[in-house]
Amino acid sequence: MKKIINSTYKWFGERIPLKELIDFISKKGVPIHSYSYWYFFGGICLFLYITQVVTGILLLLYYKPTAESAYESVHFIVANVPFGWLIRSIHSWSANLLIGAIFIHMFSTYFLKAYRPPRELTWITGCLLLYLFLAFGFSGYLLPWNELSFFATKVGTEIVGVLPIIGKPLKIFLRGGEEVSGATLTRFFGFHVAVLPGIVFIILGIHLLLLQIHGMSVPLGMKEEEVKKEPFFPNFFIKELIGWLLITVILVSLSVFFPWPLGKKADPFASAPAGIKPEWYFTFMFLTLKLLPQKVIFIEGEVLGVLIFFIAAIFLLLIPFLDLWSKKEKRNPIFTWIGIFAVLYIIIMTILTYILPGK
């Protein structure tokens, strides 16, 4: 047996730098300090993404992306396919947990100023991944073709349409026509299972590669070469594995006790039910747009809101180049307060969406 393993290792070793890879992993260290636990969220995001891919592929075995049969196929998965209910629920729950984990991971790296040189590209790819996963969530929400997702998509794409110049063509492109229809469903399915995974595969690859090149960042005031480190393999890896197992327990518990509802089949001719909301991670933007007055000076409130969020997304992407203090290993309180404001704003507005009457 040992002989076979050795010969296989030798065979592969002659073709790929296996020895170098093993050397790299065995020498790789993870800094130990009072904020080390934030490192786990990156791994949790990766685990949830893998869960998404696996459960997504399983759902693809039965899902039919047409207006006539999408709802019925999901119903079939949930009601008739062995463990279909579990796979579908895990897919939906892990999608939500993934977005939450990405937000936590993003804000933890923001406050720890992990975007300092030379990790600007790691930050940028991370931000791009956040946007891509939001797009994943938006496109995936429509796929069961139920009442809530149908109208939420209608509202969501309507918001895109208010953008000046590009708004209308972009809305038509997303919807595959003037209205949300079967064409939108097929289109969103294409984005969800082909376009977005392809882009994410590349960006995530770069993000992970950069992480291996630069290693994990240490908080401000610490010097990387002086910080105590623990071996990545197996110590940190075991800890990460425990985290993944705990997440699995949470996912399975949620799926068993709170299976993701299927709702009513979408009826494009019916009037929108009261209280239509997008997925929770979009609600802070949704409520902002609803609360803005119809006109702000000379610009329409909704257009202004969309532009503000667009600028905020660009600002987030460019933070490594704007926070010049962090390059000098100094903390700029303005950026800290911007971060605190953003976190509070997202939390408060999300809660308000669910408690404000008629919102």
């Binding site: 009601a79 209910w85 623990e230 075991i238 425990i242 006790f257 709170f258």
Partner: protein
């Protein structure tokens, strides 16, 4: 200066031309209270919108700007009496050629119908207290019946009729009850129309007629009800009750359901001891026993539906997909509705057929619920086992980590 003169001339011409159009409006607009009110009201009046003004009903000469405009030589009649109102309104409304200009589908038989109504008959006899056109449609601010502000809009009709029919003093000499509106509002039709806003629910005029309004007699009350409840009426006509009711001169529908205060029909109406049937059928008589059987059959199906619904809801809350079973349950509910309707035939075989159909569906639904319950328990057991597995795995990893850390130290 030149400009001011032009403006003054223009204003004078404008005022003069306006006054020339209708002196009634001009003068009454300057008066107060009751005299001004018609001018204010007619702004929304449908007649005024079609160019029909004061002179068309009251006579007079609107081109004269003093009191002589109201001279009798110009046909001025002032406030018309009840009989005059009929003549005034029917002058146009009974003329198909004229009315066609405004609405080709409008009816022109109102006066003819009115003459046959209780109101019309009494007016003919000289009773000036009865309602004429203006009492229901109002006088100066007349709106089409489809306008929700109109006095004859379905939801306003009980109030319009009640203006007289609720008034104890006013109705004293006629010797008829004055609680019809009150009872109607408490009944199922009143609730549907007034509280639920269902405009298809009947108001006073839908049963009594509007222009030809009259209290439906024993013979024709069922014809009124069957306008909407045709299925129940068809079943009743073929039932043995029809001839019995006719012989006894009992109103068909009204005998069990009442008239103005029609309560929501319930299965308890069939309850042998306290239900309606026992008011005619003596205990242990054939009719009594049939009602007992129908009541117990319907109750049985109702209980089975409830039982099936209960288990489905329980299973649904446990996260099991049972929407197909919920759809099936709707079929069972339809069978119950069908059985309830078939009660009007009083044919036990027909009712039992519908009941059995419902019971069969309930059995299927209940079994689905039980299957779901079993599935939910299996899921929870599986969850428990997987949880134990995960906990063991986590502890094993923690142990490995501890050993590793000890080794590193």
């Amino acid at each position: 200066m030149k400009r001011i003169i032009i403006c003054v001339i223009f204003l004078l011409i404008y005022r003069f031309s306006f006054a020339k159009e209708d002196s009634c409006i001009e003068c009454h607009n300057e008066l107060e209270g009751e005299f001004k009110k018609p001018v204010e009201m007619m702004k929304s009046d449908i007649h005024y919108k079609f160019g029909i003004s004061c002179v068309s009903c009251h006579g007079g000469n609107p081109t004269i700007h003093d009191e002589s405009a109201m001279d009798k030589k110009y046909g001025f009649i002032g406030v018309p009496n009840k009989k005059e109102i009929l003549k005034i309104c029917s002058k146009c409304h009974s003329n198909p050629e004229y009315m066609k200009k405004f609405n080709p589908t409008i009816r022109v038989d109102q006066l003819e119908l009115y003459k046959t109504s209780k109101h019309g008959i009494l007016l003919e006899k000289g009773d000036e207290k009865v309602a004429v056109c203006s009492d229901c449609h109002s006088s100066h601010g007349i709106l089409p019946p489809i306008d929700s502000r109109s006095t004859v809009f379905p939801q306003k009709i009980p109030e319009t009729c009640g203006k007289c029919h609720k008034d104890k003093e006013y109705m004293k000499e006629y010797g008829i009850p004055i609680n019809q509106v009150e009872e109607y509002l408490e009944g199922v039709h009143g609730e549907a129309l007034m509280k639920k806003g269902d405009l298809s629910a009947p108001s006073c005029n839908d049963c009594h007629g509007n222009h030809g309004s009259t209290p439906p007699g024993v013979e024709n009350i069922s014809y009124v009800c069957r306008e909407c409840h045709s299925s129940a009426a068809d079943l009743f006509v073929k039932s043995p009750h029809k001839s019995a009711f006719d012989k006894l001169k009992i109103s068909e529908c009204e005998a069990c359901h009442g008239n103005h205060k029609i309560e929501k029909p319930s299965d308890e109406m069939l309850e042998p001891e306290r239900g309606i049937c026992s008011s005619c059928h003596e205990k242990d008589s054939k009719g009594f026993l049939v009602s007992q059987k129908i009541y117990s059959d319907i109750k049985n199906l109702k209980d089975k539906i409830m039982e099936s619904e209960l288990i489905l809801n329980k299973v649904y809350k446990m996260g099991i997909e049972v929407s197909d079973a919920f759809v099936m349950l709707e079929d069972a509910k339809s069978s119950l509705i069908n059985a309830r309707n078939l009660v009007h035939s009083f044919e036990i075989e027909k009712i039992e057929e519908a009941i059995n159909e419902g019971l069969k569906i309930c059995e299927k639904v209940y079994n689905e619920g039980k299957k779901g319950e079993k599935e939910a328990i299996t899921r929870r057991k599986g969850y428990g086992l997987s949880l134990i597995f995960f906990i063991i795995l986590i502890f094993a990893l923690l142990l490995k980590l501890k050993l590793r850390e000890e080794k590193t130290l």
